[in-house]
Symmetry: C2
Subunit: 362 residues, 2 copies
Amino acid sequence: MKRREFLKAASVGVVGSAAVAAPAIAQSAPTVRWRMASSFPKTLDLLYGAGEVLSKAVAELTDGKFQIQVFAAGEIVPGLQALDATQNNVVEICHTAAYYYVGKNPAWALGTHIPFGLNTRQQNAWAYHGEGKDLLAEFFRKAGVVGLPAGNTGCQMGGWFRKELKSVEDLKGLKFRMSGLGGQIIAKLGGVPQQIGPADIYPALERGTIDAAEFSGPHDDERLGLFRVAPFYYYPGWWDGTSMEHFFINNDQWEKLPKAYQAALTTAAGLVNVDTVARYDVLNPPALRRLVEKGTQLRPFPQEMVAAAYKAAMELYSDLSKTNPDFKKLYDSMRKFQLESNPWYQASEYSYDSVMLRNVKG
Amino acid sequence: MKRREFLKAASVGVVGSAAVAAPAIAQSAPTVRWRMASSFPKTLDLLYGAGEVLSKAVAELTDGKFQIQVFAAGEIVPGLQALDATQNNVVEICHTAAYYYVGKNPAWALGTHIPFGLNTRQQNAWAYHGEGKDLLAEFFRKAGVVGLPAGNTGCQMGGWFRKELKSVEDLKGLKFRMSGLGGQIIAKLGGVPQQIGPADIYPALERGTIDAAEFSGPHDDERLGLFRVAPFYYYPGWWDGTSMEHFFINNDQWEKLPKAYQAALTTAAGLVNVDTVARYDVLNPPALRRLVEKGTQLRPFPQEMVAAAYKAAMELYSDLSKTNPDFKKLYDSMRKFQLESNPWYQASEYSYDSVMLRNVKG
């Protein structure tokens, strides 16, 4: 076929579909409609909202051709089954925290945070440009998904307690709502970790079915109303020194996407990551002030309790590393980065923050 | 015209251009070629590289239709005239730090950082979702540009000194390479601030034309070789507690872009922002270790010197606020956010970092 004829034939093909379907849209930009299962209810506006931010950005980037509809926890599957639904192709994408899936394999926790792990800056560094990038990608790929970091609450609080904590002894028998590996550490210290979904924390704490509950930080916790039934609010959340969420995408669905749509997801997830932290950092400070005004009593954990928890955590990680090669590989890399990073962090960010917190007080 | 006839006529229009120009490309995705003036030389691989990261992401998002070519400092205009070149439409976009332009108006500094201002997390919060978002957009718009946050070095170091600092007295007459408002504070303390471009710092420090120089952090500073001619490396960089870069885009060029291309810039800039910090956080720790191994002596600034600098900074901001309404508006908002944010920051990030730096040592 001569070039002129080929062009004519090709153009006819373009006309045919363009005229019927969408005149201004290219063949390389097909209409794609996905469903996202969020692990979060709409009441947690920033966590649930991160899915909406991605959806909006992806639609704008593709002139509305790539549409992702976000479903709150429970609308398609329960919140803690968002990953399963993605693996099984019930949905193409989910928004969740990897550490919700420690029941499948404790190594999932390293995608989000483990107690006494990296802070938010360090977790981003390790996951975007450190060894964590390839190691996590490989671990996720084996599980049938592509993972994109997708927002973060920043360091969380240590939770709500009905009674004040004086020493490690006060953890004995304490029924404490806590998820992930933190629960195993609390158990080592004599506590009784409880797995309870966000919506059920308030009534359990009110009735005294549990004695304490951790969830997130001031903005999220205020929305759950926990301050009404437990006056003591402890810090820092050593089991949630950061909390990196992920978008997980079914491997096969990812492969089917045009390159530009893969780029739309990857790039928009980057925006979501910085955007979500910024939202939390704007909304947490006034929420904390309101909570204190309403009678919440802020308390630091007793230092000996933190030290005991740290020791228990190191024992747990040592044990897990002996039997779980996935965990060992991710943990060793994370720990190496932490040891390398801390001296620089101390000289720079921590040292600057020390100056500022000493000088600037509200 | 009846609907069917309209569709037919419209489709003919699409055919005409599609067949000739680019069969698979939509009318809504025109070819756009822009030039970006970077303020940074290629030796500063992460700062210069942030422009490349944006360029690559935007090309991927638009199937290669929106091309941005990055030019290093000096290739089109000198590094510190990148903003001017954008305002004058010599280039459509630049990558720079707003505080390079305090000579135009000290208020530009608030886009990047002022001494004793916000840390990186807080600056992002204020600029993405705090009052800073609208205030900065208005200030930039009046200057003829749209500004998108675009990477950050994180907290910088306090610089390289040929002699050890014992007290504030040691600043008297000290010839110190320093840019932005920090120079005015050093001058209040008796120092002699010097404006010197990155490439000329090393020879000036070697010959003793200057006594000290600040530039960035370990990764960037190592590349400039400053450790060879000044043994004392001080922290923290109280004049650069964060350093938010921006992409500035000529207002008229921005308005001419299709919405999807505006979205490509905005979204990709978000990725650049988190990505650049992650790169620094991966590369600074080993750079600091190498510097120390080569004989660099790490020193914290004497506390009384930091206190004197803080006092001088507050005086400077008070004076500027009296005569410069742009500065006052941005400064008051930033300061209010800082005062609100610090108590939460202390309970969460700082408290967690304190635990981790105490327990995890390399």
